[in-house]
Symmetry: none
Subunit: 195 residues, 4 copies
């Protein structure tokens, strides 16, 4: 039911996401994006009125995607330990299959503060993702599986850890594929957070 305009909007976001991730925000030009879309520069500006806003929409898109994946896991009737493993898997699978998404988080969103300072203050453009992690954690505490500690201590561990691994892989210093580490990492996280 999405209009043609809506579809085009999304295709612009996807392409930007890809190019920003691959080449960096500042090295990617609007003409680059327009060219890849077979579209004129001027017309692109009919959809997004600045490069910054385009980047902001892209992070929302990424957050929504990852958030929905974790939501699925949150809704399953399995132990917290198992959920941890599934979240790690989802994260690493995304890193492998849609690398632009995780890369966007790590290399564009986290590192170009100026770009996101206008409309994404305090992580609001990433709420959909954080909320699900929060739910996961609250559920674990409620069911008695996780220690009731400060949320940010737990969040930093979880996301810093996974982000760090993907970064190491990007630098090609990991001797094995990401999936190789799922077991170890899940256990480490569980040990860190368990009661």
């Amino acid at each position: 039911m999405s209009s043609k305009k809506e579809q085009k909007r999304e295709s612009i976001i996807k392409t930007s996401l890809e190019l920003f991730s691959k080449q960096g925000f500042h090295k990617t030009t609007i003409p680059d994006i327009a060219k890849k879309l077979n579209m004129s520069v001027g017309n692109l500006y009919n959809y997004f009125k600045s490069k910054d806003i385009l980047a902001q929409e892209a992070i929302k898109y990424t957050s929504d995607y990852l958030g929905s994946k974790i939501k699925e896991i949150n809704m399953q009737n399995i132990s917290t330990k198992e959920k941890i493993k599934k979240i790690v898997e989802v994260y690493f699978n995304t890193a492998q299959e849609k690398p632009e998404m995780i890369e966007y988080f790590l290399r564009v969103y986290l590192s170009n503060r100026e770009v996101f300072s206008e409309n994404c203050e305090g992580m609001i453009c990433v709420t959909s993702f954080i909320t699900e992690i929060m739910i996961f954690f609250d559920n674990g505490v409620e069911s008695g599986e996780l220690r009731d500690q400060d949320f940010f201590s737990a969040f930093g561990l979880f996301m810093g850890y996974l982000g760090g691994m993907v970064f190491l892989q990007g630098e090609k210093v990991l001797p094995n594929e990401l999936n190789f580490y799922v077991e170890d990492i899940s256990r480490n996280i569980y040990n860190a957070l368990k009661k």
Copy 2:
């Protein structure tokens, strides 16, 4: 013993580090750096022949600084558990007192791949830091305190976690000062890595 030239070189690196961290690599211009140093642009180019090379020297400088701090800890005769806490403290103290260093790692080095692809492939510009973490980990395993797992699983945890916390602080979403979390975080890391 360091010649005048050597001293000037270092002051250029320090200033670049500061400006790149604060304003981002692409938003910092060579004239910016020269101006802050009361130095002409042309002369700056006598010391470093491109902006990229300057950025590369800055990451080495940062790595050396953090590496030496951890080396001090590694040489102390204390338990691995205590070492973890000290490393967390050093990291957070640096983030508070010399924010430009940690920020440089997180926001410049990690996200401007193009800039570091030439002379810093793999993570060679950051070896001095990684080596010390490696030593810390090996010692812990040797002394029987840590589980003998893949180094990168451990490294990703440690550094991703700490980086993530500093990032959260930078976004001003942390309700407390970084030091508030030292206890929790050290415990989480220890629990994750212990035998």
Copy 3:
């Protein structure tokens, strides 16, 4: 009697007049005008085939409006001295109540020569206004109240003076409202032109 098309044409002219005056010719875009009219850009081009032509129609409209006001005064059976005062009043009232008209004269017509060079050479787009001033002046000479001097010497005085005052007001340097000066100005003009 005016067809629907005729009415729309006029509403387009009025809106353009307003926007060009307020924002300047070059800062006003065709989409701006269309938007204010709840009308599509494409359709606007069905009525006027270029932005320049729109500006030309707007100056004719303004000239006709002011011309008709002065015609009313010319037709009254009063002394030239009184007529001068009435003209000053009309001019200043228009500047206060329909500022877009006087502003259009001063800031759009007088200063974007390129725009009006095609179809408004000389001052033909402004004839209806000039003609009335000419009539006023001729009548005054005929009745013996005014000195018989070169028309342009008189016209420049009259219109330059009034335009200058409105400009000063626009710059907010006038300590009083325009109406405050009517007495002084009318006297000055009369003294300058009288026999």
Copy 4:
């Protein structure tokens, strides 16, 4: 004694003045100006950091020039009536010999408010000129030759009138050269302002 840089600055102002007057502010591009000066665009920006600022410097330059001309007249030991005639002559001569100056006043400064709103609020960029007119007027009142009326009523008359005449000439509607009108105009002004 002016440095080479100072000389270049002035030559940029002069060329901009000329082009802005001839083609209008918006139709004149920075590359146009640079080209005429045999200079690169980038280098021009080393002298003036925006197009607007360039325009502001140009109006100051113009004001200073005309102000100094009127100052010379103010200092002469002649009647106010004679001064009026000399001011009219200076104005018309400038319009003929350095048309870019008067045109700049009329077509650029008076009509592009946005451009001058930042650093030239309330006519401050034009002070040197206004001040001299003020002195002329005060002297005339003091010596008993002029009626003591509101300064702006007098200023608007004087400058509006002269500007209006130059505008008419620019439109090529004047049947005679500007100088032809000096006698008439001076008399009109004197009659308007005299005691």
